[in-house]
Symmetry: C2
C-alpha cells in the first residue's frame, strides 16, 4: 500500500446490501491490519489522534465483508454490513446530511 506523507490513506466504505457509499475515513497501516484481522472496521481519527473501532461507542458497527485496494494501492474500499446509521448525525450515510451541491433537477431532463 502507498500511504500519504502522514502515513494515511482514504478508505471508502460501501454498504454491501444497498451499495450506498456510507462514509470516507482514514487508515494507517495498523488500522488496516486490525480491520483485516478482526473484520471490525477500524480507522485512525485525525482529530483525536487515536484508533477508532467504528460503532464501539454508538453500537453502529461495520462488519467487514471485503477489503479491496485501487489500481495505485493508495485507496481502500471496504464493503461492510452496516448496523444502524453509518453517520454520527443519525443519517443513514454521511452523504445524506446536506442537500446535494448539484442534482439532475437543477437542469431539468437531459436531451440526448
Amino acid at each position: 500500500m502507498t500511504y500519504n506523507d502522514q502515513g494515511l490513506l482514504p478508505a471508502v466504505v460501501q454498504d454491501r446490501t444497498t451499495g450506498a457509499v456510507l462514509m470516507l475515513a482514514w487508515m494507517d497501516e495498523e488500522a488496516l491490519r486490525r480491520t483485516i484481522e478482526t473484520r471490525k472496521a477500524t480507522y485512525w481519527s485525525r482529530s483525536r489522534r487515536q484508533y477508532w473501532v467504528k460503532g464501539e461507542t454508538s453500537g453502529h458497527t461495520q462488519r467487514v465483508h471485503e477489503v479491496r485496494r485501487d489500481c495505485d494501492s493508495d485507496t481502500i474500499l471496504l464493503v461492510v454490513d452496516q448496523t444502524g446509521p453509518a453517520c454520527h448525525t443519525g443519517e443513514p450515510t454521511c452523504f445524506d446530511v446536506h442537500p446535494p451541491l448539484l442534482s439532475e433537477e437543477d437542469h431539468g431532463p437531459v436531451s440526448t
Copy 2:
C-alpha cells in the same frame, strides 16, 4: 467545503447505474467548480499538477448526475454516468485491478 493543507479533498466516484464505486480522485475548489458548471468530472492531478477532465484523452468520460458532500464537508461524492471503463488499466473500476486484500471466502461461511 473544507480542503486539506494542500487545498484538496477526496472525491469518491460512484456509477449511477450499477452503484459500483469506480475510483477516488482529488479536487481543489476550482476542479469542483468546473465539475458543477460543466457536469464533466474534473479533478486535480497531484502527480502532473494540472486539472484533468476525466476521459478527455481516453474518451472514458464521466457525466456528473449528482454532487454530494459528506457531513464534515471534507469529502465529495460524485454520482456519474460512466462511459467505458473507469480505470486507466481498462478494468471497469479501479478496485477491480487487484485481488481483494480480504474477502468472505477467507473465513468460510459466517456462523451467526
